[in-house]
C-alpha cells in the first residue's frame, strides 16, 4: 500500500532487496490486471454469441409468443391467446405431444438397456474389443437422413426385407411405415439401431473406471453375477446412467429428422408419428405462424425443464457419487 507514492523515488538500477520486492508486487498487481483483461478478451466471442444467439432470441421469443406474427405484417399483441388456443383447441398439439411422450418412453429405456447390455458383455475379457466396439458404434456415426432412407426401405410393408423375413417365418408382417399402430415401434427400432452405440461407448468407459478391487472383494465374499451387477456395477455406473438418461430424454423430446424422413412432414398416416418439433417446424416455416410457434417452443421448453428437474430430484434416490461419502 505504500508502493504507489514511492515508486518514482526508486533510483534506476537500485538493485536492493527492498526495491526488488516493491517493484515485484507492483508488477504482480499489474500482471493480474493484464490477466483479467486478456481473459475477458478471450471470452468476448462467447459473450457476444450468448447475447445475439441465445439471450436476445430467448427474450424475443417470449415476446413473439404473446403476439400474432406472420412475418409479412408487424406482430400484433394478443396476450395469452396463443397459449390458450394451444392448450384448449389444438388437436395436432395434443397429438404431437402424446406421440413425443410415447416415443421418449420407448426410445430412452430401450436404447439405454440395449447399450448397457452390450457394454457389459464387452467389459469382460472378450478378445478384440475395438473390433466389436466399431460394429456397434458404426450406426451412430451414420448420417441421419441416409439412415432413415435405408430404414424406410428395410421397413417397407410390401417388399421390405424385414417383412419378407417375417412372412417366410410365418409371422405377421405389420405395416411399419403405414399402419398408425406400428409406426412408432418402427421409429423405435431405427433409432435404437442408430443411437445405442453412443451410449455403449460411454458405458464402456464408465465400466472401465470401476476399481477392480471392488470385484475382487466381492469375489472373496462369494458374490455371484447377479449381486455383483446390482451391488457394484450399477451403483458405480449410476452417475453415467443418469447423464445418459437426462441427455437422452432431452434429445428424444427434440427428435425431428428421423421421423420426417422415415415417414413425411406430417408424421405419416393419421399423423401417427408427428413429433413435437415437426409440428413446431411446420407451424413456423410452412404456415409462418411465428408467434404461435414461439408459444409452442416455450411449452416444449417447460416440458424439458420439468423432465430435467424431475430427473435431478429422482437422482438423489438412485445415483451414487463416490466422492460424496468422503
Amino acid at each position: 500500500m505504500r508502493l504507489p507514492g514511492r515508486r518514482p523515488d526508486v533510483p534506476d538500477g537500485g538493485a536492493t532487496v527492498a526495491t526488488a520486492t516493491r517493484s515485484g508486487s507492483a508488477r504482480s498487481t499489474n500482471m493480474a490486471r493484464n490477466e483479467s483483461i486478456a481473459a475477458l478478451l478471450f471470452i468476448t466471442p462467447w459473450i457476444i454469441g450468448f447475447l445475439v444467439f441465445t439471450l436476445g432470441p430467448a427474450l424475443a421469443s417470449v415476446y413473439f409468443s404473446l403476439t400474432n406474427y406472420n412475418v409479412l405484417e408487424p406482430a400484433q399483441w394478443t396476450g395469452f391467446d396463443n397459449y390458450v388456443e394451444i392448450l384448449t383447441q389444438d388437436d395436432l398439439f395434443r397429438k404431437s405431444l402424446i406421440n413425443t411422450a410415447y416415443y421418449t418412453v420407448i426410445y430412452v429405456p430401450l436404447h439405454i438397456i440395449s447399450a448397457l447390455a452390450v457394454a457389459m458383455l464387452l467389459n469382460t475379457k472378450v478378445r478384440g474389443i475395438p473390433f466389436w466396439r466399431t460394429f456397434f458404434y458404426l450406426p451412430s456415426v451414420t448420417p441421419v437422413v441416409a439412415m432413415a432412407i435405408l430404414w424406410k426401405f428395410i421397413l417397407n410393408p410390401q417388399g421390405g426385407i424385414l417383412n419378407q423375413g417375417l412372412r417366410s417365418l410365418g409371422l405377421p408382417a405389420p405395416g411399419w411405415t403405414t399402419d398408425p399402430n406400428w409406426m412408432m415401434p418402427a421409429l423405435g427400432i431405427m433409432v435404437t439401431w442408430g443411437g445405442a452405440g453412443n451410449a455403449m461407448i460411454i458405458y464402456l468407459a464408465g465400466l472401465k473406471n470401476i476399481p477392480i478391487e471392488l470385484y475382487e472383494s466381492a469375489d472373496i465374499d462369494g458374490a455371484g453375477w447377479w449381486s455383483r451387477t446390482f451391488h457394484i456395477t450399477l451403483p458405480m455406473l449410476s452417475p453415467v446412467l443418469f447423464f445418459t438418461t437426462v441427455v437422452g430424454i432431452v434429445a428424444a423430446l427434440q427428435t425431428f429428422a428421423q421421423s420426417r424422413v422415415l415417414f413425411d412432414e406430417e408424421g405419416g398416416n393419421a399423423n401417427a408419428a408427428l413429433l413435437y418439433l415437426m409440428y413446431l417446424f411446420n407451424t413456423a416455416f410452412s404456415y409462418f405462424r411465428m408467434g404461435y410457434a414461439s408459444a409452442l417452443a416455450w411449452i416444449l421448453f417447460v416440458v424439458i425443464i420439468a423432465f430435467t428437474v424431475f430427473q435431478f430430484w429422482l437422482s438423489k434416490r438412485w445415483v451414487y457419487y463416490e466422492g460424496e461419502s468422503k
Partner: protein
Amino acid sequence: MSSRETTVGAQPAVRYPHDRGRRITVGRMTQYAVLTLLSITFLLPFYWLVATSLKTPAQIFTSEWIPDPIRFRNYLDVFEQTDFLRWTVNTAFVTTLAMIAVALSSAVVAYPFAKLNFPFKRPLFALVLATMMLPGVVMMVPVFLIWRQFGAINSYYPLWVPNLFGSAFYIFMLRQFFLTIPNDLKEAGLVDGASHFRIFWSIMLPLVRPAIVTVLLFEFVAKWDDYLTPLIYLNDPNKYTLAVGLASFLRAPGLESRWDLWMAGSVLVMIPVLVLFFVAQRHFIEGISAGAVKG
C-alpha cells in the same frame, strides 16, 4: 446376497480352478455367439444398403442377397439425375467453415476458464454450462427472424457464422484438456515477456491438439449430418446441402420409388463420415467418453 443364491457364481472360483475354467469356456462361447449375432444385426442393414444400391430397379424388392447383375451405373445416375455433386461441394464448404470456426472460437473461450484468473470466472462458466441445457428450439424462430432481417435467407451464413462464438459443449471439453497442462508453461512464457494470446497460441494450443482434432471430427459429423438448419434456411435446390438434397430425392420428379438411386445416394453420403470414423476412431471414442465420464 446370501451365499445360497450365489453358490453357482463364485464359490468354486478359489477351490476348483479347473471347474471354473470349463464353465468359463462355455460362458465365453455363448458370449462370442451373442456378440456375433448382435454384430450381424447391427451390420446387416449396411450390407442391405450397399447390395440394394447395386441392383436394377426390377431386382429391388427381391430378396437376392447378392445382386445379379451388379449395376454400378446407379452411382453415376445419382450424379447425372440430381445435383448431387453440387450439394457435395456446398456441404463441404459449409462444413469446413463451421469446423474451423467452432474449433478456434471454442478453444479461445475455453482457455481462460482453465488457465487465467479473472472476475466472475465461476458464474460465467456456470452460465456457459447452463446454455447447454437450454433447448435450441426456443431460439429457433427469433434466430430465423434475425437472419431474415440481415437478408441471409438462402445463404450459408446462418449455417456456420454462429460457430464463430464457441459452442458450450466444446468449450467444456477443451477446458478439461487445458486444465491438464501444467501452469509452469504459462509462467515461463510470462517471464519471457510473451503476451497471454501468444502463450495461448504458441504454447497451449499445440498441446491440446488431440482435443482440437476431436472437436473438428465431431463438428464434421454434426454439420455433414445436419438436416434441420439447412431445411429452415435454404430454399433454392441449388444451394442444398447433402442432407436436405438426399431427402429431396424422395419427392424429386422422375425419382419416385427409385430405391436403387436413393440407396446409392445414401451410400455416397455415408462414405466420408465412415472413412473418417475408421481413420480417427480413437478420437471419437475418447471424445464421447470424456464428455460423460470425466465430466
